[in-house]
C-alpha cells in the first residue's frame, strides 16, 4: 500500500507491504541505518525516533500507521554540519561507548528535555526507562542529558 511520510524534512511516497515495520521502512527503504534494532519486544529503545514530535519505538509501529506523519531520526539532528546540542553533549560527556543504543537514547533524551527543560537526575533516569544501554552504566548518559539541557536552555534564552 502507498504511504507518504516526511522523514527529516524530506517527503516521500512509497509502496510498502502493510506489515512492514516502521524501523525497516527507515532502514531498508530510506537507507537511514542510524536507527537501530536491538530486540523484538519493544524493550531496548534502540529504534526510538520522533513521530510528529513524540518519541516512539519504530519497531512497534507498522509503516502505514505513520502515513501522513513527520518523522525525525538521528540523521536529522545535525543541521548544516553543526551538531545538535544533544549530540555535542553525548560526545563531551562520554555518553556512549559502543554507540549502538545512542541514536535511540538521544531521541528519548530530547523528549525528556522537552518535558523537563531542567531535568533532575531522577527525571532523566525515569525518562530513560524504555532505553537500554549495556556499556555505560548510564551515568555518563545522565550527565550528557544534563549537559544537553543546559546547552539548550542557553540557546533558548540567547535567542530571546
Amino acid at each position: 500500500m502507498k504511504v507518504t511520510i516526511t522523514t527529516n524534512g524530506v517527503r516521500a511516497t512509497h509502496d510498502v507491504e502493510p506489515r512492514l515495520l516502521l524501523v525497516h521502512y527507515l532502514r531498508d527503504v530510506l537507507g537511514l541505518t542510524g536507527t537501530h534494532i536491538g530486540c523484538d519486544t519493544t524493550s531496548c529503545g534502540a529504534c526510538t525516533v520522533h513521530l510528529n514530535g513524540l518519541a516512539v519505538k519504530s519497531c512497534t509501529l507498522l509503516t502505514p500507521q505513520a502515513d501522513g506523519s513527520e518523522i525525525l531520526t538521528v540523521e536529522g539532528l545535525a543541521k548544516n554540519g553543526a551538531l545538535h546540542p544533544i549530540q555535542e553533549a553525548f560526545w563531551e560527556e562520554h555518553g556512549l561507548q559502543c554507540g549502538f543504543c545512542t541514536p535511540g537514547m538521544m531521541m528519548t533524551a530530547l523528549q525528556i528535555i522537552a518535558q523537563h527543560p531542567r531535568p533532575t537526575d531522577d527525571q532523566i533516569r525515569h525518562g530513560l526507562e524504555g532505553n537500554l544501554c549495556r556499556c555505560t552504566g548510564y551515568q555518563h548518559i545522565v550527565n550528557a542529558v544534563q549537559a544537553a539541557a543546559r546547552k539548550m536552555a542557553g540557546q533558548a534564552s540567547g535567542g530571546r
Binding site: E17, R19, L20, R27, G31, L32, T33, G34, T35, H36, I37, G38, C39, D40, T41, S43, C44, A46, T73, V74, E75, L77, A78, L83, Q87, F90, W91, E92, H94, L96, Q97, C98, G99, F100, C101, T102, P103, M106, D121, D122, I124, R125, H126, L128, E129, N131, L132, C133, R134, C135, T136, G137, Y138, Q139, H140, I141, V142
Partner: protein, 792 residues
C-alpha cells in the same frame, strides 16, 4: 609545536562523530548488491535426534532462493575448541554449521532458508517440517553427573567434559583439619545472558574466480576467526578469507567466538554465488549466543580464631551447556581456579572443577570470565569467616592482605608460575572506607536498626588478572590455549607526516582509536589529529589475537609503543646524518630530533618523515620510510585490584533492596584516558550489580529457556542505579613500559560480591548469612519470612 601531555588526558573520543550522527556502519547496516538474507530454523527441543528434515514446502515459498539442512554442509568440519582445560583430558563436542543428526540445546540450528528478504526467509521457516525423536533432558550440572542422568555425548561419560584441579589437595585438607574454625557454604553463581544491545551477524561474499571469501562478522578477534574458519572448518588456505569486523555494538565476550552461523553464511555465499547475510534477532541471541557464569560451588574455608585464613577448598560444577563454545573449557579452569587466592595470603588452596554438559545454551567467557566467579567465592568466604568469628569484615581483610612489600607475589603456586605484579591493597581499601565514611555508617546502621530499618554495607577487595597473556604460560603445554597470546601493531609515518597505526586489537566500544592515538601522538610528538588508528580488518592489519580479557592496553598498546620507539630510533639515526652530528648526540623529544645542548640544530618528525619517504638523503644502508611492526608477548599478566563498597537498605516487608551508595576505588595502573576508564568502570559495575540483584537465566526441566526475551530477563535500566562514586589509586604495573594494567572488567569482577555482602550485612539481624543470587525481592522476602517463622 605546542606539545601537551595526552597520556592521562580525558580527551573526547575520536570515534564518536560517526556514532552520534547515525553514520557508523554496524553489521546490519551493510548493504551489498544482490544481497540474500538467511534465517535459521532452530531446534525447539533441548535434546533430540533429528530423524528427517523436509524442506520441500519451504523451498517453494515466495522469494525463497534455497533451503538447506545440516547434510548440505557435511563437508565442513565441526567448529574447533581453541582453549581446552590445561593438562587434563577434554571430551570435546563442538557445533557444526548446522547440526546433522542430534541437538543438545534449544536453539541449535537445524536448517536455513535463504531468500530475497528477511521477511520472506522468516515466512518460509515455518514451512520446514522436522521429525524429531525427543530425548530426556538434564539442565542442572550436578544432576548431569549423577548415575542414570541422560547422556548427551558418547565421548563424555557422565556428561563430564573435563575434571580439572589446581593447588595442593593434601595440604589443604590437613590445614582444614587443623583450623580453629571451618565454614562450609554452597554458592550458586547463576547463569547470565550477556545482552549486548547489538546482536551477532555475518555477511559473506565469495569470488569463484579467485576462490576467495570476504566475511564481515561481529567479532572481537577477526584474525583468529579467519584462522579457525579456514584451517579448521573449511580446510582452505588462510589467505582465501578476509574477515572484517564492522562497528560492533557491544560484545562483553560473546563475540570472541567462532559461531556456526558465520561458517554457514560463507558456505551459502559459495553455494549460491550471491552475497548472503544473517543477522541475529533478540530471541536467537538469547538461545544461540553464549551465556556466562553458571557455577555451583561448595567451598570450605578454614581460619584461626584471630581471623587468619589458613585454607580454602573449592569444588565447582561448571555448566558448559549442550555443546562447547570456542574457549569454554579455559574459562572455569585457568581464569577461575588460578585466581582463588584473591588478594589474600592463603597458605593452602585447592580447587577442583568439573566441566559438565547439560541441555542448555553454550556458556563461555562473559565480561570478567572466570575472575568474577573466583572473586565471588573468595569474597564470600572472607565475609563468612568474619561473620563466624564476629569480626569486622574490614579487619579480616586487612589481616589477610598480601602486603605491598610481598610483590611480586606467588599465590602458593596456583597461578602456575605467574606472580601478582604489584599492589597496595590497603591503600585502595582505606580510600574507599574514607569516601564512604565507614565508621559513621556503622553508627547510622545501629541507629537505623533501632528504628526497624535494615541498612547494610558490603565490601569487595579484589584482585584480577588482565593483559592475557605470556604465550609460554597460557599455551597448550600449560594452560591449554591453542595458540599464543601476544599482540601486534604497525606504525607508519607517511611522507606528509601523517601517522597510520594498525593494531591487532579490536575495538567494540572501548575507544582504541582515541587511546592508541593518544599514546602515539605523545611519544612521537605529533598532533593527535595527524594520527589515525585502523583495526578489525585482516587485510591491512598485522595478525593479532583481538580484544578480550582486558588486554588491549596491557598487551595491544604496548606493541604500538614498541613500534613508535623503533621509529624514534630510526628518526634519530636519520637526524644525525642530516645534521652531521654523532648519533649519540641526538635527542628525540616533543616531535623533534635535535643535537644535545643545541635545540636549534633540529629536524622535526615531519621533516624526517619526508626525508625517509623520498629517500634522497638517507645514510648508507638505511631503508626508506618509517614503517615498524612489533609483536609484544608480555612476560607476565597484570593484576589490577581495588575496593568496592556498596551500601543498601532492605525493606523487610517487601524484600526490596535499594542501593544507597556505591563507591569504587580501582587501581588499574597508569591511566591513558580517565574519562574512558571511568566509563568502563561504570559499565562494569552495572553488569556486576545486576547479577547480584536482578539477572539470571532460568531453564525449565525440559531445557526451555524461560527468560528468553528482554521482557523476561532483567537487563537493568537507568533508574535501577544510584550515581556511582568512582576513585582510583595508581600503582603502575612493572610488567610493561606503559605501567598499565587493564580496566575493562574490574567493575564486573568487584561489584557482585560487594552488593551481596551488603545485603547479607543488612539481613544479619535476621540470622541470615548467605542467600544465592539474584537477590530479588521475592527471594529476600522469603528468607526473612522463614527466619521470622511467618507463613509464606
Amino acid at each position: 609545536m605546542a606539545v601537551t601531555r595526552l597520556f592521562g588526558s580525558s580527551i573526547k573520543r575520536r570515534e564518536d562523530p560517526r556514532l552520534i550522527t547515525g553514520e557508523a556502519r554496524f553489521l546490519d547496516d551493510i548493504r551489498l548488491p544482490g544481497l540474500l538474507h538467511a534465517a535459521v530454523l532452530r531446534s525447539p527441543h533441548a535434546h533430540a535426534r533429528i530423524r528427517n528434515v523436509d524442506t520441500r514446502k519451504a523451498a517453494k515459498a515466495p522469494g525463497v532462493v534455497g533451503v538447506f539442512t545440516g547434510q548440505d554442509f557435511a563437508d565442513l568440519n565441526p567448529l574447533p575448541c581453541a582453549w581446552q582445560a590445561g593438562g587434563v583430558q577434554n571430551n570435546l563436542n563442538t557445533p557444526r554449521a548446522l547440526e546433522i543428526d542430534r541437538v543438545t540445546f534449544t536453539g541449535a540450528g537445524v536448517a536455513v532458508v535463504v531468500a530475497e528478504s528477511r521477511y520472506a526467509a522468516e515466512d518460509a521457516l515455518g514451512l520446514i517440517q522436522v521429525d524429531y525423536e525427543v530425548l530426556p533432558t538434564v539442565v542442572d550440572a550436578e544432576a548431569a553427573v549423577r548415575p542414570g542422568a541422560p547422556q548427551l555425548h558418547p565421548n563424555a561419560p557422565n556428561n563430564i567434559c573435563m575434571d580439572w584441579s589446581c593447588g595442593d589437595r593434601d595440604g589443604t585438607e590437613a590445614a582444614l583439619r587443623g583450623a580453629d574454625v571451618v565454614i562450609r557454604q554452597r554458592l550458586v553463581n547463576q547463569r547470565l545472558i550477556p545482552n549486548p544491545i547489538d546482536m551477532r551477524g555475518a555477511v559473506a561474499t565469495y569470488n569463484p574466480a579467485s576462490q576467495e571469501f570476504t566475511v564481515w562478522m561481529t567479532s572481537q578477534a577477526p584474525h583468529v576467526m579467519r584462522l579457525l574458519m579456514t584451517a579448521f572448518v573449511f580446510g582452505i588456505p588462510e589467505t582465501k578469507l578476509r574477515v572484517i569486523s564492522p562497528e560492533i555494538g557491544g560484545a562483553f565476550g560473546t563475540k570472541i567466538y567462532l559461531y556456526p552461523e558465520y561458517c554457514l553464511v560463507a558456505a551459502l555465499a559459495r553455494k549460491l554465488g550471491r552475497p548472503v547475510k544473517w543477522m541475529e534477532d533478540r530471541k536467537e541471541n538469547y538461545v544461540a549466543t553464549t551465556h556466562g557464569r553458571d557455577h555451583v560451588t561448595d567451598l570450605e574455608v578454614g581460619a584461626t580464631r584471630d581471623g587468619t585464613i589458613t585454607a580454602l577448598k573449592v569444588k565447582t560444577y561448571a555448566n558448559l551447556g549442550g555443546i562447547l563454545s570456542t574457549i569454554a573449557p579455559g574459562i572455569p579452569t585457568t581464569l577461575y581456579g588460578r585466581m582463588l587466592s584473591g588478594c589474600y595470603r592463603i597458605p593452602h588452596i585447592h580447587c577442583q572443577v568439573l566441566g559438565v554438559y547439560t541441555n542448555t545454551g553454550m556458556v563461555d567467557a562473559y565480561r570478567g570470565a572466570g575472575r568474577p566467579e573466583a572473586t565471588y567465592v573468595v569474597e564470600r568466604a572472607v565475609d563468612l569467616v568474619a561473620r563466624q568469628l564476629k569480626m569486622d569484615p574490614v579487619d579480616v581483610r586487612r589481616k589477610n592482605f598480601i602486603p605491598p612489600e610481598a610483590f611480586p607475589y606467588d599465590p602458593v603456586g596456583i597461578l602456575a608460575g605467574l606472580t601478582y605484579d604489584s599492589g597496595d591493597y590497603d591503600k585502595a581499601l582505606n580510600r574507599a572506607l574514607e569516601i564512604v565514611d565507614y565508621r559513621e555508617f556503622r553508627r547510622q546502621q545501629q541507629e537505623a536498626r533501632a528504628q526497624g530499618r535494615y541498612l547494610g554495607i558490603g565490601l569487595s577487595t579484589y584482585v584480577e588478572l588482565c593483559g592475557a597473556a605470556p604465550s609460554a604460560w597460557i599455551g597448550l603445554p600449560g594452560q591449554g590455549w591453542g595458540a599464543g597470546l601476544w599482540e601486534s601493531a604497525n606504525v607508519r609515518v607517511h611522507l606528509t607526516g601523517k601517522v597510520v597505526v594498525t593494531s591487532g586489537s579490536q575495538s567494540h566500544g572501548q575507544g582504541h582509536e582515541t587511546t592508541l592515538a593518544q599514546l602515539v601522538a605523545d611519544e612521537l610528538g605529533v598532533p593527535i589529529d595527524d594520527v589515525i588508528v585502523q583495526h578489525s580488518d585482516t587485510l591491512g592489519t598485522p595478525f593479532g589475537y583481538g580484544s578480550y580479557a582486558s588486554r588491549s592496553a596491557a598487551v595491544g598498546a604496548v606493541a604500538v609503543h614498541m613500534s613508535v620507539q623503533k621509529i624514534k630510533e630510526k628518526a634519530r639515526r636519520l637526524a644525525a646524518h642530516l645534521l652531521e652530528a654523532s648519533e649519540a648526540d641526538i635527542v628525540y623529544e616533543d616531535g623533534r630530533a635535535h643535537v644535545k645542548g643545541t635545540p636549534d640544530r633540529a629536524k622535526t618528525i615531519q621533516e624526517l618523515a619526508l626525508a625517509a619517504s623520498v629517500g634522497y638523503t638517507l645514510p648508507k644502508g638505511m631503508e626508506p620510510f618509517f614503517d615498524e611492526t612489533s609483536y609484544y608477548d608480555p612476560p607476565n599478566c597484570t593484576f589490577p585490584f581495588g575496593t568496592h563498597v556498596c551500601v543498601v537498605e532492605v525493606a523487610p516487608d517487601t524484600g526490596q533492596v535499594r542501593i544507597l551508595r556505591y563507591v569504587a576505588v580501582d587501581d588499574v595502573g597508569r591511566v591513558i584516558n580517565p574519562l574512558i576508564v571511568d566509563g568502563q568502570v561504570h559499565g562494569g559495575i552495572a553488569q556486576g550489580v545486576a547479577q547480584a540483584l536482578w539477572e539470571g537465566a532460568v531453564y525449565d526441566g525440559n531445557g526451555q529457556l524461560l527468560t528468553g526475551t528482554m521482557s523476561e530477563y532483567t537487563v537493568p535500566k537507568a533508574e535501577f542505579f544510584p550515581r556511582f562514586e568512582v576513585d582510583r589509586t595508581i600503582t603502575p604495573s612493572p610488567v610493561n613500559p606503559l605501567g598499565v594494567k587493564g580496566a575493562g572488567e574490574t567493575g564486573t569482577i568487584a561489584s557482585t560480591p560487594a552488593v551481596v555482602s551488603a545485603v547479607m550485612d543488612a539481613l544479619a539481624p535476621f540470622g541470615i548469612r548467605h542467600l544465592d543470587m539474584p537477590l530479588t525481592p521475592r527471594r529476600v522476602w522469603h528468607a526473612i519470612a522463614e527466619q521470622r517463622g511467618e507463613p509464606r
